[in-house]
């Protein structure tokens, strides 16, 4: 078990009468890449700002190791932030931006020079020391911002949607770069994003938030494969969510048919459940006794795959399917999936 570096206990924050973060608890281990994922307004940025020290929790505690840091001002916390808009100092060049925290600490000029050179190497910008901030591209500014935040040797690096201002291609490149940097500098990264794909790509652990509450936390694989409720299922990737009933252990009934599944009957007062099937887990074939039958109502080419909507004959439920095969509109098809592909959730 890794050592816990950041912990929140019963963390609560309100602005005026508006509760933004509602009594949440979480732990973050050393050297972990943790992502807070949620739609805008879910409180993820507020949590990050509380960890950084820009907001003071209304109640609850934030721990750094075993010390409560609620009352420690931001400038004394051994944490650094990469801001969404980078917040580089426009009146300084690249070197001075990165050197800023070391100059505040009055470090020796030699040491500063060496450290800046080392950091520029890490972020792949060697030779850019004297460049003006305004002359850099978005991606380069992003790298400078990361180098600047790392200059102080922070225990934790906080990243507030750092890639959202970049275009898609640049974003993908920076994702890989970020992961590489994290491995290189061996630090805890706390990342905030609304982009589920980014979260899945980067994180060791994802904490999914909605309305200031934690919906689910776990590894990307856990969260993708075993979403705990419809919000998570819907937010993390595309999914088909159908109401169903557990008839017994390892058997669920929905859309008028019974299917084998890998979940036990939940020990709840009701047998009503919701069933999640990912679009890529469904196979389109012929109408058979055991398949769900319907009509193709739309097909859209998405590059790697087609996105096909099949309307179920009996219930008019629209299934979304991702497949590399082409199927004509109005074609009658059967939808097939295995027990592994059926994920059971509590009815929401």
């Amino acid at each position: 078990m890794k050592k816990t570096i950041i912990e929140a206990r019963n963390l609560y924050k309100e602005f005026g009468k508006n509760a933004v973060v509602k009594h949440i608890n979480f732990t973050i281990a050393e050297n972990e890449f943790v992502t807070f994922l949620g739609p805008s307004g879910c409180g993820k940025t507020t949590i990050l700002r509380m960890i950084a020290g820009f907001e003071i929790p209304t109640s609850g505690q934030i721990f750094l190791y075993d010390k409560v840091i609620n009352d420690i001002p931001a400038y004394l916390r051994p944490l650094n932030t990469v801001f969404q808009n980078y917040a580089l100092f426009p009146h300084m060049d690249v070197f001075e931006n990165i050197a800023f925290s070391m100059r505040i600490k009055k470090q020796e000029a030699k040491a500063i020079e060496a450290k800046v050179a080392e950091l520029l190497e890490v972020v792949n910008l060697s030779g850019y020391e004297q460049r003006d901030i305004a002359s850099l591209s978005g991606g380069q500014q992003q790298r400078v911002a990361i180098a600047r935040a790392l200059a102080n040797d922070p225990k934790v690096l906080l990243l507030d949607e750092p890639l959202s201002a970049l275009d898609l291609k640049m974003r993908k490149e920076m994702q890989i770069e970020l992961k590489k940097i994290q491995r290189e500098v061996k630090k805890t990264f706390i990342y905030v994003t609304h982009d589920q794909e980014e979260a899945l790509t980067l994180s060791d652990k994802i904490i999914v938030l909605n309305h200031g509450e934690i919906q689910q936390s776990g590894t990307p694989i856990d969260i993708y494969n075993e979403p705990i409720n419809t919000f998570v299922a819907d937010f993390i990737g595309e999914s088909n969510i159908i109401d169903g009933t557990m008839t017994k252990d390892f058997e669920v009934e929905f859309l008028g048919k019974r299917f084998l599944c890998v979940d036990k009957r939940p020990s709840l007062e009701t047998d009503r459940v919701q069933v999640v099937i990912r679009p890529e887990d469904i196979e389109i074939g012929q109408c058979l006794e055991h398949t769900i039958n319907g009509v193709v109502t739309s097909i859209v080419f998405k590059g790697v795959h087609y996105e096909i909507i099949v309307q179920c004959s009996e219930s008019e439920y629209d299934f979304m399917i991702h497949t590399t095969d082409y199927h004509e509109i109005n074609k009658h098809v059967g939808l097939d999936f295995g027990p592994d592909d059926i994920h059971i959730m509590k009815a929401g």
């Binding site: 801001f83 100092f89 009146h91 925290s101 102080n152």
Partner: protein, 262 residues
């Protein structure tokens, strides 16, 4: 045709505006003492100007007051701007309106009220009172040029500096002042120009023996317009024009660089 008319109109306007100044400037080089005729080119009036002890003392007061008023009002105005900026948005608006009142107040009202105030606190009028008055009317202009710079500044910069270990004073010194420096310089130039330029408020707040150039010109003019006044006025106009030119160039440059940044 329309274009010609438009240009004629424009040049008529410019002529109307600048003819008096041009006449004054030309006459400052007129060898004849009479205003009616041209007696040939001379620099005699400029020579006399620089020999005149009264004018030298007036010049001394003008420059001293302008420099001191600029330094003090720039510091006070910048500190006030930062203070106002740190208030909430609502209080910021109130403070801005309060700041506008002295700007739109007629000079005569400011001058008289300052005079009454000095009498009220039994301050003998002279250099000190004139300096205080100049500082007073310069501060709002400094605030007007510094505050917008603060509002343009990315607030994340302050948080970034704090995040990187800077304490509040260090944030102001290393980040905020650097960011708003163009505004501070413009404000200082404004203050300097206004101070050199001022007659009405100075007239009401100075005491015996302390006259700045504008007051001196006024008292000379009461005894009849001498060509020396023309020379002096010409120099004053040139100084103020030069300062305005610098201010304008600065604000043009500013919009250009911010434009680039976007």
């Amino acid at each position: 045709m329309k274009k010609v008319l438009r240009n004629v109109y424009l040049y008529l306007m410019l002529l109307f505006l600048y003819a008096p100044i041009l006449v004054l400037m030309v006459y400052s080089f007129n060898a004849s003492k009479s205003r009616g005729q041209w007696g040939g080119f001379t620099l005699e009036w400029y020579r006399r100007l620089f020999m005149d002890a009264n004018i030298q003392s007036a010049l001394y007061y003008t420059v001293m007051i302008a420099i001191l008023a600029t330094i003090i009002s720039t510091i006070a105005g910048t500190v006030s701007s930062i203070g106002i900026f740190l208030y909430g948005n609502k209080a910021q608006k109130v403070m801005l309106n309060v700041n506008y009142i002295p700007v739109i107040n007629p000079d005569i009202v400011t001058g008289v009220s300052m005079m009454i105030l000095f009498a009220f606190v039994s301050m003998r009028q002279g250099f000190a009172t004139m300096l205080i008055a100049h500082i007073t009317f310069c501060i709002p202009y400094v605030i007007l040029s510094v505050l917008p710079k603060l509002r343009q500044m990315d607030v994340n910069l302050i948080e970034a500096a704090m995040d990187l270990g800077a304490r509040p004073m260090q944030i102001i010194n290393k980040v905020v002042l650097a960011e708003i420096r163009p505004g501070i310089i413009t404000g200082a130039l404004f203050a300097f120009t206004l101070s050199i330029d001022d007659f009405v408020i100075s007239f009401f707040t100075t005491g015996s023996g302390v006259s700045n150039l504008s007051i001196y010109v006024y008292s000379m003019a009461k005894r009849g317009i001498s060509p020396e006044i023309n020379a002096l006025s010409t120099l004053m106009i040139l100084t103020v024009t030069l300062l305005l030119f610098i201010i304008n160039r600065r604000s043009n440059k500013k919009t250009k660089t911010t434009g680039e940044r976007i």
